[in-house]
Amino acid sequence: MADHNSFTKSNSLEIVYSKKGLPIPKLEDIFIHSQYDPEKEAETFINQHLKNNDNHNFLLLGLGFGYHLENLCQRLAQRKTSYKVIVIEPSVELFENYKTLRGNFPQNVEFHVGINIETLYHNKNIIEFLTQKPSVIAQPQLLQIFNHYFQELLTYKGGTTIKSITPLINDDEVRQYFSEFHELTDLFKLPEIIKQQNEILCKEDFIPLIIESLNVQQ
């Protein structure tokens, strides 16, 4: 679930308790949830996001102590349709405290904690999930504290070079085939290249052509 990276400044986490006795993390002097009623605050926040939104998939940026997540899952469960939530939390320390102090893991939730951005974008589950166009909910305080992390997450550019894509290719034969090209742009131009150069006609593989044709179709 977590790798060894943590993006939290060490020793900056404090735990305080709300008037109702609920634990609240305080990071870099910022309260992550309301000091008075974190559950009520989460309810109002999630209400805003679920208004006119019938998406079944949600990407939660920042977990904190899970008040938003719990409210979101309760509301999604009430819809009686299947749903999935992926949580991306930069701080391992915060997550460990959440587990200890709250320890409430709602159903249909996948946590990705303290993981660097490139690793996140190499995760097949996350890619599958993102292609389903989830609604994104960002925890504002955590967005501010981990600004660089989330900024990188939201502006990341995936690999388009042969060097960056071949390690991700599962099939040995296909990987070998792709590694024969110098640049990916060569690949997308393959139909033209083949028309011009008869000698490569014997390449009995149309995979890149299909990729090209999909682009054309769009």
Partner: protein, 548 residues
């Protein structure tokens, strides 16, 4: 056992239309196993198709998302595609039907032919190793070439595919798996509606108010106007059909407000929709899936089109059909009402007076169904004549005899026809000149050839650059030649002289046949013109005699 793969990867046009192909294959080869390859977004629809043994889905949208978005590593796209292709290529197919003939399906078919299915028979486009489309017959060349981009296709897609498969269209069952419970409820409820009307013979008319694309929707005004006329007739009872989507519910409510919320609205998902349509007496729709299902149950249908799309290729395969095409979303309600009366009561309608719309009706000939114009007075007749004559030419290219009377009778603007035929003959003559020049250049001795590498292209240049298939009948002939000749153009002149010469003689035959068809049409027009003239003279003389 025949293992047949039918590739149908289009979102809208052809999904349920391919049911006829599946039924025809099952009828001809009862022991065959049919695998249906479609998009994952159409899995629910695929599940209700009958006679399918396996379904394979392709995650096209996901693949396109990965390719189009900067955030994803393109390696995921490669994995997705290679996993999919491995699945399809894991067994040899005896027959592959590239039903849509689009780029993607053509590449997949070609890939399979180079893999496990090298001995498979194919229908539809397939590329050889030199990226040339292959075609043996005129139908094949037409389907793989000009047909894919033609705006004035003279064949319904199913007819060509059935012809290429050499199977007969004989849909004895709808080819859909209907849920018995849905069937029972729908029948019961429709009987209830008839009883409420106090008229067991009342005709229930379903109106699908939304299409899948806002650009092809019909205006609220049109629907309300048509509903008013339908409601005025005690023999008709309208119901509004919607899909379980909020947008359609809102649209139904908006229309219902014009009628004090008295209209019946039926909401049906794709599983229940066949049972609903089966119980209608007539369907009016701008939407593709609904109309295709009505065709399978042979429910009389009025197709409404606002885009000059390819309804010539994808019209509902049934004779009890009227197509109304308008360039705007506003169609006079009266026109829809007239079409209802025509289809349900065979009432004679003077279609020629229906302005701002083009109306068509399918007519059966030896090749299947063809759309013929009902109000040619209101449409660009040149393209209509070309479309209809090109069908006759293509039949003759394929040595199929066709009774032309049904087609010629529909083209009754004789003066105009003769003028267009004269233009067509000029174009055929021009193509003949190019053809003869090409034959002369082709047999030129090697010492007279300046550049052997480009000689072949120069020889065929004028034919290859001849106008497109939608412009003239000569354009169709040259387009077919392009498909045949394409595979030889990568070779030098010396390698392919004989093959190209053979193809030029095929083109010569097509040109001759086209001339004959045009002459036949001309003499038909002249005969009718003369007969009309004689009749007019006779009438005038009778009138004069009577006046003395």
């Amino acid at each position: 056992m025949n293992k047949i793969l039918l590739i149908n990867l289009k979102e809208n046009n052809d999904f349920f239309a391919s049911t006829r192909i599946i039924s025809a294959i099952k009828n001809e080869y009862p022991n065959s196993s049919i695998t249906f390859l479609t998009l994952d977004s159409l899995q629910d629809e695929a599940n209700i198709l009958d006679n399918i043994d396996h379904i394979i889905t392709f995650e096209k949208k996901k693949l396109i998302s990965i390719l189009n978005s900067q955030i994803y590593n393109k390696g995921f796209a490669v994995n997705l595609l290679s996993d999919f292709l491995s699945q399809v290529n894991s067994q040899p197919w005896s027959k592959i039907i590239n039903y849509n003939n689009d780029y993607l399906s053509t590449y997949i078919t070609s890939y399979l032919k180079l893999g496990q299915s090298e001995n498979a028979d194919t229908v539809g486009g397939v590329l050889n190793k030199s990226f040339s489309l292959q075609a043996e017959t005129a139908f094949e060349a037409y389907y793989n070439g000009p047909y894919t981009k033609s705006a004035n296709a003279s064949f319904c897609q199913n007819d060509i595919v059935l012809n290429l498969l050499s199977v007969k269209n004989n849909l004895t069952t709808p080819g859909l798996k209907c849920n018995p419970e849905h069937e029972r409820i729908a029948y019961h409820n429709f009987q209830k509606l008839r009883a409420l009307e106090g008229n067991p013979n009342v005709k229930i008319i379903g109106i699908k108010i939304k299409s899948s694309n806002i650009e092809t929707d019909i205006s609220t005004k049109t629907i309300v106007d048509a509903l008013n006329l339908i409601l005025d007739n005690p023999d008709f009872f309208p119901v509004i059909l919607i899909e379980p989507r909020e947008e359609e519910r809102l649209a139904a409510n908006e229309i219902n407000q014009f009628f004090d919320n008295s209209l019946v609205t039926i909401e049906a998902d794709i599983i229940a929709l066949p049972s609903v349509i089966n119980n209608l007496d007539l369907l009016i729709t701008p939407e593709t899936k609904t109309k295709q299902i009505s065709s399978l149950f042979n429910v009389p249908t009025i197709e409404l089109h606002t885009k000059p799309k390819d309804f010539y290729k994808h019209f509902n395969y049934q004779e009890n059909l009227i197509i109304i095409f308008s360039k705007t979303s506003d169609i006079e309600g009266k026109y829809i009402y007239d079409a209802i009366c025509d289809l349900l009561f065979q009432k004679t309608i003077n279609w020629g007076q229906h302005k701002n719309i083009h109306c068509f009706r399918p007519v059966r000939d030896e090749l299947g169904l063809i759309l013929l114009p009902l109000n040619q007075e209101q449409m660009p007749i040149s393209s209509e004549i070309r479309r209809i004559l090109s069908r006759i030419c293509l039949a003759k290219f394929n040595n199929i005899q066709i009774d032309t009377k049904v087609h010629f009778d529909h083209l009754n603007n004789y003066q105009h026809n003769l003028r267009i035929m004269s233009q067509e003959k000029e174009k055929l003559a021009a193509l003949t000149r190019h053809l003869l020049k090409a034959l002369r250049m082709l047999v030129r001795p090697p010492e007279q050839i300046v550049n052997p590498d480009t000689h072949l292209e120069e020889t065929l240049k004028e034919i290859l650059e001849f106008e497109g298939p939608d412009k003239s009948i000569a354009g169709i002939c040259s387009s077919l030649f392009k498909i045949y000749a394409n595979k030889y153009l990568i070779h030098t002149a010396a390698d392919s002289t004989n093959a190209i010469e053979k193809e030029l003689f095929v083109l010569k035959r097509y040109v001759q046949i086209s001339f004959e068809v045009i002459k036949h049409f001309e003499s038909y027009c002249l005969d009718v013109k003369n007969t009309n003239l004689i009749n007019n003279v006779k009438t005038k003389s009778s009138e004069l005699r009577a006046s003395y």
